[in-house]
């Protein structure tokens, strides 16, 4: 990985974003990123692209740059922080400000990104819906249905709803057919009876 041409360096930047570089390579990319305006612009653009792919709501509606400038101005007025030298100095005594594990996945938790075929392309409107399919387990019977098992399960089983909202969902009838066929015939599962069969029988009609 060298800085000879901007394409290969952008490719390194892309890999750095994904955490796929070694410690040394990361350091080099970061060094360049901090001084090269074009590299920073690429970082910004790639981050926006990633965000928008996960949710159209994340498209910036005002200048991200303006926000950053304002912030940097503010930070320049902060008292100089004591420099912590060396890698990874995380004092053990500090309070960990962490949320339960399951909330730490911004990618998986983002609302479904509806990515529609543009109008005018073909008769069978084909919608590609990508993203996490989490659903709500708010239990009217009160507090954590899995409360009893808490000590045994390592993560807090709080799952939150992501509704299939944000726009009408166009279904592909052919895909529906295949999914039905899969459910009808593909029940070669140890959990088929009763749960699997009942699940398929109950769920087939949903959304029609």
């Amino acid at each position: 990985m060298n800085e000879l041409n901007s394409t290969s360096s952008s490719e390194c930047l892309s890999a750095f974003m994904d955490g796929e570089l070694s410690v040394n390579e990361s350091a080099q990319v970061l060094d360049r990123l901090l001084v090269d305006t074009q590299a920073k612009e690429t970082w910004h653009a790639y981050q926006v692209v990633g965000d928008v792919l996960r949710s159209a709501e994340l498209a910036p509606n005002q200048s991200d740059l303006a926000f950053l400038e304002k912030l940097e101005h503010r930070l320049s007025q902060e008292p100089q922080r004591p420099v912590v030298s060396g890698a990874r100095q995380f004092p053990v005594t500090d309070v960990a400000l962490v949320l339960p594990e399951d909330l730490s996945k911004p990618v998986a938790n983002s609302p479904v990104f509806r990515w529609k075929v543009l109008a005018g392309v073909a008769c069978s409107a084909f919608v590609i819906v990508v993203g996490g399919g989490l659903w709500s387990q708010t239990d009217p019977r009160g507090g954590g249905q899995l409360a009893i098992i808490k000590p045994v399960i390592s993560e807090v089983p709080v799952v939150v709803a992501t509704e299939t909202s944000a726009g009408p969902m166009l279904r592909d009838p052919r895909l529906d057919e295949l999914m039905t066929a899969h459910r009808q015939l593909g029940g070669h599962s140890a959990l088929q009876v009763p749960a699997g069969f009942l699940r398929n029988a109950t769920y087939e009609g949903a959304g029609r």
């Binding site: 399919g133 009893i148 098992i149 999914m179 009808q184 959990l191």
Partner: protein, 330 residues
Amino acid sequence: MTQMLRKWLVIFTAFCTCAWQPAIAEVPLNAWLMRVHQAARQSVYTGTFVVSAGGNMASARIWHVCDGAQQLERVETLSGTPRAIFRRNDQVITFFPQSKIAIAEVRDSLGLFPSLLKSSDSAIGDFYRLKALGNERIAGFDADVFQLVPNDRLRYGYRVWNEKKSGLIIQLQTLDLDGKVLEQAAFSELQLDAAVNVGKLSKAGNTDGYRVLRPDLLKTTADAQGWMLQKEVEGFKPMACYQRPAASSAAGLAMNGHSTMQWMFSDGVATVSLFVEVYDPQRHLRESLTDMGGATHTQTRRIDAWWVTVVGEVPPATLTTFAHALERKK
């Protein structure tokens, strides 16, 4: 990577402990599966079943009875298109009261278990392990809670609530690779050993007044159709293969108008179907990966003159692996 074959000796009332050393909180998987399965066959129950997946919910009323050697079951949907499904063992009739059409079919897969488990090829334990999580009260019953943990990232995990006495599954959650619930199927209300009128339930299979359609389904093999998997997807074995001719006589059934091969795989718990049809540029617009909400994903791919759709309750990457492993025999 070759799969290790393990011989499981499973006997109905006891299990052979010599073949397996239980770890802390781990439970012998096959014995558990047998119990779960037996419970479903032999229990008499009625209740309301609710399925939640990706923000959608669907529910149905269920009646189930075991009448000697035969199992009778009726499912009446409470949401979506009105339907009633009547099952006698592996024969299934789906009634559509609005159109007065009934679709009668035999679902092989329903007859497979428990022979699936008894066979020496059964290696579910190679890909999942079972953990006991404790117990909880649910839908008015005491239940044991288990977690079926996948050994790799090619498949999803599950959390299962078994009614304590019978072993009947009251609730089943499908968990994604991070342990989050993708979908849930459960009895919101259940009566076990309820007095179900067997005679009345049998009559639910009566098709008077309905036009009965039978799907055109030819049992075949992928090999005969000219297809193979260049590389096995770990744990997933081929289960069956069907060909549906183009001119399907059953209205409202899948494959209307398009001849399609359905090649089915399973690892014993999760299932995947590979659908192959002739590529049609008018209809087959774009390769994609979709998530309809819940555990089921689909992926499409073009292979030369064919169009492949992969469907399964597995992580998307597994579907992609299938899609790329399928190839024409040479």
